[in-house]
């Protein structure tokens, strides 16, 4: 089964085509195709991860062209983690999207295409191939963001497209610089040849700068985050959750790969300025992201700014480059995906019941929707970093790594980030648990109940603020995310040990 990495990329493409063609036979069959495809995809992803964690790094040469010339797929512990994360989260969001929609076949075809892009970026060992997959995932993400019914979605999608494409083009230009300097595109080969060219060569420095800035746009590091709040707020709830959980995460993975596998730690040692700039970008992202999050009234926008802040932590870990920090970054990437995805789904669930996405609308939610309020509270506290949740473990490792590296300013910012995260989540929890529900709220809840009784499921709007039907799948997904956020925290230390050989290889 050496072909597993290639199959993982090919399977969702096939599923995407099938979902598209199936609409000719029967409309609204896309969901079933997507579930079937992603179920197989998840099994394959887990099988691959199991192999990688027991046997070590795995590589596959596409089309039989030997390694430095052809495209190589390389799967190490970190890529395997991403592949499993992508598979599990996208399958989970499907359970939510069953009733919440959007429900058209083209939507699911695009959904599967996004999974293709995400998986592709995770497994590729070739820099140009990474660009292509970044664009595939970008294209799918733009289309998905725009799949809401309101005009707002289309505007958000177009803005995301323009900013995202500039980011990807800068990445491509960086690939060009690296190619001109070395004549190769294979990552392993590049790391050797870039060292031969010399890390202080202007060409190599420019390549690094362009690649990293391009990826910063995709990760949404301040001040290149401007696409993110509009995109998350404009997209349908299931799409916000999927994109927020996976797209920036995989871009951050690409950042780790480019910085450490292609340019290596020696590059950062030879160019202290590059490292300092990354640290500054991370610190500014953490602080400003949180401050902007506090200022929001719309919950989806608040969560988007929270992502800007959380990904600052990951960038900080990449810049600090100690084993502990990188393990923390991997844990935080997984944890953040589960927590943020869960939070977006929870917001969608609450919006479906109460019709509001405003923070002010969460007054007394614990009395109206105890399950949803509890899940939001657990996920929010996990994000703040309350032990034993996964948010704590990730932040703890990154902070510890920063202390080990004696990078005191960033260590202070990381510890501070916990307080900052608390600043915007605490008021939400306060509103949910310590305030009385407004009078109008009870009316709406009753309206939803009658709507569900009369089979309101069939004519659910895919977007808009009005109350809609809530399915068991939606509730179960949100609950599962909350439980997972805590359970992953308990498993994180063991996972850190599993990841040890991968991290050592990244830093060597």
């Amino acid at each position: 089964m050496n072909e597993l990495p290639a199959l993982l990329v090919a399977l969702p493409i096939v599923g995407s085509i099938v979902a598209f063609l199936a609409s000719l036979v029967r409309t609204r069959s896309g969901w079933y195709v997507a579930v079937a495809t992603l179920a197989v995809h998840t099994v394959a992803a887990v099988a691959l991860a199991e192999r990688v964690f027991t046997e070590g790094q795995l590589s596959y040469v596409v089309g039989g062209f030997t390694a430095p010339y052809g495209i190589e797929l390389v799967v190490d512990g970190l890529s395997a983690t991403m592949v499993v994360l992508v598979a599990v989260v996208s399958l989970g969001v499907l359970a939510y999207a069953r009733v919440a929609g959007p429900r058209s076949n083209p939507f699911y075809a695009t959904y599967l295409l996004l999974v293709t892009g995400l998986t592709g970026v995770s497994v590729t060992g070739d820099l140009f191939n990474m660009y292509v997959f970044l664009e595939i995932l970008g294209l799918a993400a733009y289309a998905l963001v725009a799949s809401g019914e309101r005009g707002e979605s289309a505007v958000a999608g177009l803005k995301y497209l323009i900013v995202g494409t500039v980011g990807a083009s800068l990445f491509l230009l960086g690939v060009g610089y690296a190619f001109v300097a070395t004549g190769t595109l294979n990552m392993a080969d590049l790391s050797v040849k870039l060292a031969e060219v010399g890390y202080t060569s202007p060409l190599v420095r420019a390549a690094f700068g362009l690649l990293v800035v391009g990826l910063f746009v995709k990760v949404a590091v301040f001040p290149l985050h401007t696409w993110q709040p509009t995109a998350y707020a404009g997209a349908p709830d299931s799409v916000s959750a999927l994109v927020a959980a996976l797209v920036s995460t995989v871009a951050a993975y690409a950042l780790v790969r480019v910085t450490l596998s292609v340019f290596t730690v020696e590059f950062l040692v030879a160019n202290p300025l590059a490292r300092q700039l990354m640290v500054v970008a991370a610190a500014v992202s953490i602080v400003v992201g949180s401050v902007l999050a506090v200022a929001q009234t719309d919950l989806k926008r608040m969560l988007a700014y929270s992502s800007v802040s959380q990904f600052g932590l990951v960038v900080a870990a990449v810049a600090v480059t100690t084993e502990t920090a990188l393990t923390g970054a991997a844990i935080h990437l997984v944890g953040h995906a589960v927590m943020k995805g869960g939070l977006f789904l929870a917001v969608g669930l609450v919006a479906a019941s109460t019709g509001t996405r405003l923070i002010a609308g969460y007054d007394g939610l614990s009395q109206r929707l105890p399950g949803a309020a509890g899940s939001v509270a657990v996920l929010a506290l996990a994000m703040v970093g309350v032990p034993p949740a996964v948010g704590f473990v990730g932040k703890w490792y990154v902070a510890l790594g920063a202390v080990e590296a004696r990078a005191w300013p960033i260590a202070v910012v990381i510890f501070l980030s916990t307080l900052l995260t608390l600043a915007y989540f605490a008021r939400l929890i306060e509103r949910m648990y310590f305030r009385e529900p407004p009078e109008w709220a009870t009316d709406i809840d009753e309206a939803v109940d009658t709507d569900a009784d009369t089979g309101g499921v069939a004519d659910v709007a895919t977007d808009g603020a009005g109350p809609r039907a809530v399915s068991t799948g939606m509730r179960a997904t949100v609950l599962a995310a909350a439980v997972l956020a805590v359970l992953l925290g308990l498993a994180a230390v063991e996972y850190g040990q599993l990841l040890e050989p991968t991290v050592e290889r990244l830093l060597s």
Binding site: G151, G157, L158, L172, L173
Partner: protein
């Protein structure tokens, strides 16, 4: 110093003109994307920006006095790899333009305008 710089620039213009055009295109593209309020013009700016990157690759592949990389031509050859890469990138660029224009059509149908400022005003009123 003052005597060297002009000669350097002329030299640069003569031998590296493609790279200058590359960065000119990148600049014009970026400016159009930022300065224009019209969505279609923003997409045009985006295309210019991408073409700048394409040109960079193609210019980098060129070798003075070399032949196309064909078996019946004598060497040296120009590098074929960047051409193939850019062929892929052009396909990506075309798909992006298609999606972008699709969104522009939807925005026009929804708001009846292509002007970013007007759309923002309409949304603020909602």
């Amino acid at each position: 110093m003052s005597a060297v710089v002009p000669v350097g620039i002329i030299d640069l213009l003569a031998t590296r003109s493609y790279y200058l055009v590359t960065f000119l295109l990148l600049g014009v593209g970026t400016y159009t994307m930022i300065a224009s309020d019209n969505y279609v013009k923003k997409v045009i700016g985006l295309n210019l920006f991408q073409v700048g990157v394409f040109l960079f690759f193609i210019a980098a592949a060129y070798v003075d006095g070399a032949n196309p990389p064909l078996l019946d031509e004598p060497g040296p050859y120009v590098s074929p790899l960047p051409h193939v890469l850019i062929l892929t990138a052009i396909v990506v660029g075309v798909s992006l333009t298609a999606v972008a224009l699709g969104l522009v059509v939807r925005i026009y149908a929804e708001y009846g305008t292509l002007d970013d400022d007007v759309v923002r005003e309409v949304r603020a009123d909602e």
